[in-house]
């Protein structure tokens, strides 16, 4: 009887999983379904319009194509160089100026001939191409995809720095630390304060990372270690981490205000061409380099050093590690210091990636750190890295296929789906987490 119920139960669960997948698939079909339209459309409320001029001279007969959300339309500019395309919804569209229709020697100079329309809060958006004399330099779909992959790798690498700390804290203390986002914010915040205090930029980075590591150590010494000693339950600890997250987030707001600050050199970083039309900014290249070096050094520490081995042992099985003579408390302290430093570094890099430093930037990235950790398997450092790369690339590349304001939804959905089918994550060991 009981086993029959259990069987029924798993059968039911499986059926429900299938149902859920069907619902998700259906939602996907809805996304892709083409909007019906065949004209350049005055009947739509939402309009994209512009004016094609070369140094004040209107250009007639230039072809403009709008496509996206299953809708395509094209127009040819009139004698004043003006054009207007009505679109069914204020969604994300790719807009192309067909360069072959421009006069000889004239090209789109900035942003490429194909650009993505961004909407404000009104029904109308004005989209002008910056054209002038120059080489035609078309950015193909493929090149756009490459650029998104690079952006994704960059984001993934810095996400990995943050996710490793979260994952190791979870592995060694079983705590999903909801205040990890604020540890990320702190890195950027320390850098800002140090540079404002007149510390040279290159010196303020390592100092900020050191302060972040100190912050991680302080959190453990002041709060987590005493609570562990009291044997406080894990659910309580989670709620404590939420309380800490609110506390630090709003302290940041109280001192920083609600606006966005920029770290020195965050804006206007020069672009370096990589291949074809793909180019990366100097900041991006430095960011990726720093992440890679730190991640490799960390992996080396984890695999080779005595402390790193002890960390992995505690993460695997704390009781067994303690029984074999490892000082678990010391390992946990080191893990918090590492987590603080890595999260701080991730915060600095993220402030350059976004770009900008804001009081709630930690809250914004927290769920993706969790997504990376869960995807790779919480408790595994290398899993967190793999998960972060997948989440980063997925977020950035998906924007080519779905509306860009939905790109973050994809990463969160993937996390939920992975928990359905492989709840231990990609590199995690199978255990009961149900």
């Amino acid at each position: 009887m009981s086993s029959a119920t259990a069987e029924n139960h798993t059968f039911l669960a499986r059926g429900m999983k299938m149902l859920l997948i069907a619902i998700l698939a259906f939602a996907g079909v809805l996304f892709a379904s083409p909007a019906m339209a065949d004209t350049v459309g005055d009947e739509y409320e939402n309009k994209i319009l512009g004016n094609v001029k070369n140094e004040g001279t209107p250009l007639q007969g230039v072809k403009i194509i709008v496509e996206g959300n299953g809708y395509t339309a094209e127009v040819v500019t009139d004698g004043d160089g003006k054009w207007s395309i009505g679109v069914p919804e204020a969604g994300s569209y790719l807009i192309t100026l067909v360069e072959d229709t421009l006069p000889e020697g004239i090209a789109v100079l900035e942003g490429g001939a194909t650009q993505t329309v961004e909407w404000g809060f009104t029904n109308t958006v004005v989209w002008n191409f910056f054209i002038g004399e120059g080489e035609r330099n078309p950015t193909s779909q493929l090149d756009q995809f490459f650029m998104r992959v690079f952006a994704g790798l960059n984001f993934g690498l810095l996400l990995g720095l943050a996710a490793i700390g979260l994952s190791l804290v979870f592995g060694t203390t079983a705590l999903p630390n909801f205040a990890h986002g604020e540890m990320v914010t702190m890195g950027a915040l320390f850098t800002l304060f140090l540079t404002l205090a007149g510390v040279p930029l290159l010196l303020s980075f390592p100092l900020a990372v050191a302060l972040s590591a100190l912050f991680g150590w302080g959190l453990d010494a002041a709060i987590w270690a005493p609570l562990r000693a009291r044997g406080v339950g894990i659910v309580q600890l989670m709620i404590v981490s939420i309380g800490l997250s609110l506390t630090f987030r709003y302290i940041t707001q109280a001192f920083l205000g609600g606006g966005t600050e920029q770290l020195p050199g965050a804006l206007g970083s020069p672009e370096i061409p990589i291949f074809r039309t793909v180019s990366l900014s100097v900041n991006d290249l430095i960011s990726m380099g720093v992440s890679l070096v730190v991640l490799i050094a960390f992996a080396f520490w984890l695999l080779r050093s005595k402390m790193g081995k002890a960390t992995r042992a505690v993460s695997d099985n704390a009781d067994l590690a303690a029984a074999s003579g490892i000082n678990v408390d010391q390992v946990i302290r080191v893990v918090w210091i590492m987590a603080g430093g890595l999260a701080g570094l991730a915060g600095i890099l993220w402030a350059y990636f976004r770009p900008g430093l804001k009081w709630d930037m930690g809250e914004k990235i927290l769920l993706f750190i969790f997504a990376a950790g869960v995807l790779g398997g919480l408790g595994t450092a290398f899993g967190a890295f793999v998960g972060a790369m997948i989440v980063g690339v997925l977020i950035e590349t998906s924007a080519q296929f779905i509306p860009s304001d939905l790109k973050y939804v994809g990463a969160l959905l993937v996390m939920i789906i992975i928990l359905l089918f492989r709840p231990q994550g990609i590199l995690g060991r199978r255990e009961r987490i149900g």
């Binding site: 339950g233 989670m238 709620i239 969790f370 509306p403």
Partner: protein, 327 residues
Amino acid sequence: MDINSIFINTAQALFSPVTIAFAMAALGLAIHFGFVGLLNFGIAGFMAVGAYGYAISTLTFGFPWWAAFLASMAASALFAVILGIPTLQLRGDYLAIVTIAAAEIVRLLLLSTTWIKTTGSADGLVAYADDFRSINPFPDGTYGFGPWSYTANQFWVLIFALIVLALAALLLWRLVRSPWGRVIKGIREDEDAVRALGKNVFAYKMQALVVGGIVAGLGGALYVLPSSANPMLFATSLTFFVWTALLLGGAATVFGPLLGAVIFWVLQAFLGSLLPAMADAGLLGALSSAQAGALRFVLVGILLVVIVIVRPQGIVGDKRELTFVRK
């Protein structure tokens, strides 16, 4: 410092639609967390679904007010089922991560411009309350006394919200004392023991998730009933504020969430008036009044940490009913 306006603001928070909406959300969460032990960190998602369920069914489909409330409840129930299928078999910490992500997905979908005609995107939705106001039994005029004085529309929203809250509290009070309530409390205490008795734990959890979800969703609808719905209202902070209210009052009680919501909002209103006034009077050093306003949320965070460590059963709770402390 204007002591009088601080007092009026504080007193008004005692009976306001926002306080009542919070009480509803906390009540729903009490079912999820207090009675079944589900770590639902997605309560803001339930509130958003309830709120937009009401607003969209009114604006897009032209439902009358009562049908809009039914649609809101149906939407919350559906959200609970969709959320529950993948998550109810997960361990507590994973459930927390997934529910918080699900709530954020809801908010991002509402924020997206893809469905701007229906959802209003970042501008949100307004002007959906006409039909609800048209059945207002109170003639135009001013109601109440002292700090509690309302226009006819405000008074109607308030009375209606109070009735909904009273009904919900009564229903849940009966439910947790019913045989069904004993089973879900059993699941909280020892899931395997209940399973050994031949109960379908998954089904009970799902039922509890739906019931609590509907109550929280109605809370969301009441939250936006006075004026407008906006995705920014339903950020993850909202979830944590509801948790604070719940834990403050007492998670495994019916009266606790109500008390917690009232204390939470009275404190918020008091500090929200007092701190900026103190900053203006120069009592908080170099802090501006806007900066001082952020400090009250710092206090919320500290309050949450202190309650969960010092008195996890909340003000009216019973420590024996707190499995989460023992685990």
